[in-house]
């Protein structure tokens, strides 16, 4: 219905313009009656109106247009020459058409007036009459052949004579009456002349439904100029606000506030003039999809959602090509051939969804297909073949990162390049184009289930809200879209929660590891000694694609609407800046490109990756973690997830005391046990040093620490370990990191070996935990880690390396509770949960989903699928509490 309304609107607007043109064209036609082009143009206009009105079922309009067209076709074919009488009749038709359109515009219905029907009859008669006039005396004979004969011979010689004769003949009274009236009517319309209506009952009742001008065609440049001016106005407003704030004059403030409102409104309205529904682009796709599907011999059903979503004109223009490209890819490579689809239990016709919607000041466009999906392994192989990445680099890629390979330049996985598209040729271009618009592209794909490409683009490029920050006495603007939150760390918090590892800094924000980037560092501004966070730290938490990070700035000021101005050719290559803007005081500030900052960071990470080569097993685990690397003795490297670490600290060797056979240190007002790893692992002992590093854990309400000689580094990488080489208590597995064999410490087991009572909770001492837990987890590292702490808590653990295996085990074995990973090959955690909930016998099984990242979206999805609880897998205490709580009712039952 909405769609139809839109079409109607378009139709009305278009027809109105064309009709205005018609008036002019008819006048011209009277002057040069032989101008074929003119007749053809008029014919086309009327023909379009006829066609469209037929489509909408506007019978009166269709009728008038039909007969007018009839007359015009005779003119066009030269059967009848143009004369004043005909022109008048046609002009009158135009007037009627206008009146009907006016009524349609106002009421959505055709006018309910006999006048119109009368006119149709007149018009029809007239059309017949003029035909008869030129026919041979046989009159009624409308035979095409005959009229054709008539036409070809007499036309050349006699055509003009005929014309003249008909002019000489006194025109039928009815028409001669109308002639001046119609003209008068047209002229008088604007003055609402009611007399003309009275005098000519057959003239359209114009007064009732005037065809009002609601659309104006405006030069796009004019709009752009208006936009620029609005931008300037916003800047002046900002400046004025500043001055008003300084002067502290209440009257000025009030006046300024008022003006502010108007300026904002004005800016919004001007912005709106440039807005167009994305449907303008989407509408081209049914045809494109149809053609592509036929060429590829596939069946594709296109669904368009959210066509009314509005976007800035300039963006609309620039997304058309990327969209076309992605649609091509989906049809060519995503959606399978019908017989293959049937084999895979899918309907023969693939479904392609183009969806657009607003989300948080951005427009999201999704291209979704239910095709074969993209196999990350295939992409990896291809990347290897093409020499884009080395094997080592590939192994450390998560599946998600592997999917992003598709956006690498020169990357094509199409086994054969078809004439429609070779996948990848241009996917990099797609990404570049979208990024140029300030947008991002994400790719989600599931083998066998389809692919979704998600594009996020800003509503408009011209004026954006931004946060102004300071660094080294300069102001920088950060686009608000990237902003997650602002955190101020006091001096104490900095000391307590910010960890410096190697060159990098991290902050623990609500339990999550947040890498910190100092803006000064990103901008290569030398750090002055006095700048050291004496008064704490201002952290701007930003989101750039996959991972949030914290940008450390000197100070944070207001949020402002800024006008984006591009950087000149000398500077636009600097990826750290998205552009410039003018501040209220007339000075320039640079706009930070959050993506650019992270990409400079990820370049640093790639260097790490190049050094890091991991020994892996097949079935790569894709979860990334920050790892902490440390050594006890030289050249013996150990790794543990940074997320488990509460603090890193340094102590002098002399502060370690021996109390009751255990080593402790005085730490933050209480004594804390410290563990020497060599006591539990077959490794070289800690050398004599003046200072040692402590890795402090906080578990079960207590602190405990490992003593090591050096903290080497931290790495953000996918953990995949080899578990067989070093089969040893306290070790989860090993991997080669930076060319060094590195052992992954099983912290829980080591702590338990050191102090068997450490994890015993006082209130739980009496209840012996005896339950069988099924653990579904594809990553060896996490599987071992979870097994370790679950069994140390007294549970019996059955493991499954993927969802499929878990599903088999859960049906065969007697299981009390399921702990499952979300992302797993073959069957993921959501599907596993759904299967269990759908099974009559198993549907009450308590399920805990564990994940390495706690994304809200995943959490929601998990809870929807039916999991009972959702916990970060590294958080032993929380997972155990969740297990305990979920098993509690069962114990009660058993006791009863």
């Amino acid at each position: 219905m909405v769609m139809e309304d839109d079409i109607l609107k378009d139709f009305l607007a278009e027809s109105k313009e064309n009709l205005e043109l018609l008036d002019q064209q008819f006048v011209e036609l009277e002057q040069e009656p032989d101008n074929e082009e003119l007749i053809k143009s008029i014919f086309r206009t009327i023909h379009t109106i006829k066609g469209t009105s037929g489509f909408f079922g506007f019978t009166t309009l269709e009728g008038i247009a039909h007969f007018a067209e009839d007359i015009l076709s005779k003119l066009r074919d030269g059967i009848v020459p143009v004369n004043e009488e005909i022109t008048t009749m046609l002009l009158q038709s135009v007037d009627y058409i206008k009146a009907i359109l006016g009524s349609l515009e106002q009421t959505g219905k055709e006018p309910d007036d006999m006048v119109y029907l009368d006119f149709i009859v007149d018009l029809r008669n007239f059309a017949e009459k003029i035909t008869k006039d030129v026919q041979t005396p046989t009159g009624e004979n409308e035979d095409a052949k005959e009229s054709g004969d008539e036409e070809s011979t007499p036309e050349q010689g006699e055509g003009k004579v005929e014309g003249r004769t008909s002019k000489k003949e006194p025109p039928p009274t009815e028409i001669s009456d109308k002639l001046p009236e119609a003209q008068a009517g047209r002229a008088a319309k604007k003055e609402h002349d009611k007399k003309s209506k009275k005098k000519t009952p057959s003239a359209p009742p114009v007064g009732a439904h005037q065809l009002t001008e609601t659309h104006v065609r405006i030069d796009v440049h004019l709009l752009d100029q208006l936009m620029t001016l609005a931008g300037e106005l916003v800047l002046s407003r900002n400046r004025l606000t500043q001055i008003a704030g300084q002067l502290n004059n209440p009257d000025l403030m009030t006046a300024n506030q008022r003006m502010s409102l108007v300026v904002t409104e004005l800016q919004e309205q001007i912005m709106k003039t440039r807005m167009q529904p994305i449907g303008n682009v989407f509408n081209k796709f049914p045809r494109i999809v149809r053609d592509l599907a036929r060429a590829a011999e596939k069946q594709v059903q296109l669904r368009i959602e959210g066509a009314e979503t509005e976007l800035d004109r300039s963006i609309i223009e620039s997304i058309k090509d990327p969209l076309t490209h992605m649609v091509r890819n989906s049809i060519d490579h995503g959606i399978e051939l019908p017989d293959i689809r049937i084999q895979r239990d899918k309907p023969a016709a693939g479904i392609l969804v183009m969806r657009a919607y607003h989300e948080g000041g951005q427009v999201i466009i999704e291209i979704q297909d239910d095709g074969a999906g993209i196999d990350p392994e295939k992409l990896k192989n291809k990347a290897l073949e093409k020499g884009i990445l080395t094997e080592d680099q590939l192994n450390s890629l998560s599946d998600r990162e592997a999917l992003m390979l598709i956006f690498q330049p020169g990357f094509s996985t199409a086994e054969k390049v078809t004439n429609i598209s070779g996948r990848g040729v241009g996917m990099d271009v797609v990404k570049t184009n979208i990024e140029k618009l300030g947008g991002t592209v994400e790719l989600q794909s599931e083998v066998g289930h389809g692919t979704t490409v998600k594009i996020k683009i800003p509503l408009t490029l011209a004026i954006i809200p931004a946060l102004i920050v300071h660094s080294a006495d300069q102001r920088y603007a950060i686009p608000q879209v990237n902003l997650v939150e602002l955190v101020h760390l006091t001096k104490e918090a900095v000391e307590k929660d910010v960890q410096v590892i190697g060159d990098s800094e991290f902050y623990r924000l609500r339990g999550e590891i947040l890498p910190l980037i100092r803006l000064r560092k990103a901008l290569k501004i030398p750090e002055v000694a006095s700048d050291k966070h004496e008064e704490g730290m201002n952290v701007v938490v930003l989101n750039a694609g996959d991972r949030p990070f914290g940008l450390v700035v000197d100070s944070i000021s207001d949020s402002e609407e800024i006008v984006v101005k591009p950087l000149g050719q000398h500077l636009k290559h600097i990826r750290t800046f998205a552009g410039t803007t003018l501040m209220g005081d007339g000075r320039v500030a640079l706009i930070l490109d959050v993506m650019g900052i992270t990409s400079s960071m990820s370049m640093a990470r790639e260097e790490h990756l190049q050094k890091a080569s991991l020994v892996t097993e097949k079935g790569a685990g894709e979860e990334r973690q920050f790892l902490l690397l440390c050594t006890v003795a030289d050249d013996e490297f150990f790794a543990l997830p940074l997320a488990l670490v509460n603090r890193l600290d340094k102590i002098s060797a002399s502060s370690i005391e021996l109390v009751g056979g255990k080593e402790v240190v005085q730490y933050r007002g209480h004594s804390m046990q410290v563990i020497r790893l060599e006591n539990y692992l077959p490794i070289s002992p800690l050398p004599e040093q003046e200072d040692y590093h402590l890795i402090v854990f906080h578990m079960n309400g207590k602190d405990i620490a490992f003593v090591v000689s050096r903290i080497e580094d931290s790495l953000d990488m996918a953990i995949e370990v080899e578990e067989h080489t070093f089969k040893q208590e306290g070790i989860l597995g090993s991997a080669i990191i930076k060319d060094k064999t590195t052992l992954f410490l099983d912290i829980y087991q080591i702590i338990q070996m050191h102090d068997p009572d450490f994890f015993v909770l006082p209130e739980r001492e009496d209840t012996v935990e005896s339950a069988r837990i099924l653990l579904a987890e594809d990553s060896t590292f996490y599987r071992n880690l979870l097994t370790s702490y679950l069994s140390s808590a007294g549970y019996e653990v059955v493991v499954a390396e993927d969802g499929q295996r878990a599903w088999e085990l859960i049906q065969e074995e007697d299981i009390d509770l399921l702990v499952t990973d979300i992302e797993m090959p073959n069957m993921d955690g959501f599907e596993l949960t759904k299967n269990i909930r759908a099974n009559e016998q198993l549907k009450d099984m308590p399920i805990i989903a564990v994940t390495s990242l706690s994304g809200e979206e995943d959490k929601r999805k998990g809870l929807e699928a039916g999991v009972n609880d959702y916990q970060p897998k590294l958080d032993r205490d929380q997972v155990l509490t969740a297990v305990h709580n979920l098993l509690a009712p069962e114990r009660l039952e058993m006791a009863a």
Partner: protein, 170 residues
């Protein structure tokens, strides 16, 4: 940086202007230390005494920053750095902006002080010698030997051209 250089030194080279004939070329002249430079008048859009320069970190070294010229943001090119002049710069003195280049994307050339508009007979304009002390001749299109002074006519295209863009992010 906002201190205005109100008194633009005007050299009395007007006797040259007297000899103006149809074959004379006009130049906007300016100084940097003892060097005397000129730009063809058609290449110069305007001269602006003092514009605040906002530094751009990570930018090529010849870019002094960006300036706001009535709402249009221009790249400010440090002339001395660009052409390899080795001159003690006193930031306090401020700079003058010679706005030049095409109107779509003009640049601002930071110079020490502004001279006159001079008319030089074409006959006096000579090709660039192979070496000019302290100046990269890549940016010089011609020279003109004036009594007691060499007018170095700069090549605005070369000045404007962005240096080879290799990512300065490093």
């Amino acid at each position: 940086m906002t201190k205005d250089n109100n008194n633009v030194p005007v050299k009395a080279e007007n006797e040259l202007a007297e000899s103006r004939n149809e074959n004379a070329a006009q130049f906007v002249t300016f100084y940097f230390g003892k060097h005397f430079f000129g730009l063809p008048i058609d290449d110069v859009i305007e001269i602006n005494r003092a514009l605040d320069v906002t530094p751009v970190p990570l930018a090529p070294s010849y870019v002094a920053g960006v300036v706001n010229l009535r709402g249009q943001i221009l790249t400010a090119i440090d002339l001395a750095n660009r052409i390899g002049l080795n001159i003690e710069k006193n930031e306090e003195d401020g700079f003058n902006n010679v706005i030049m280049g095409d109107r779509e994307e003009p640049v601002s050339l930071l110079v020490q002080s502004i001279g006159d508009v001079m008319s030089v007979p074409s006959s006096q304009i000579e090709p660039t010698p192979e070496l000019i002390e302290g100046v990269d001749v890549k940016y010089v299109s011609h020279v003109c030997k004036l009594p007691g002074q060499l007018l170095i006519i700069l090549n605005s295209n070369a000045l404007e051209q962005a240096e080879n863009v290799n990512d300065s992010q490093g």
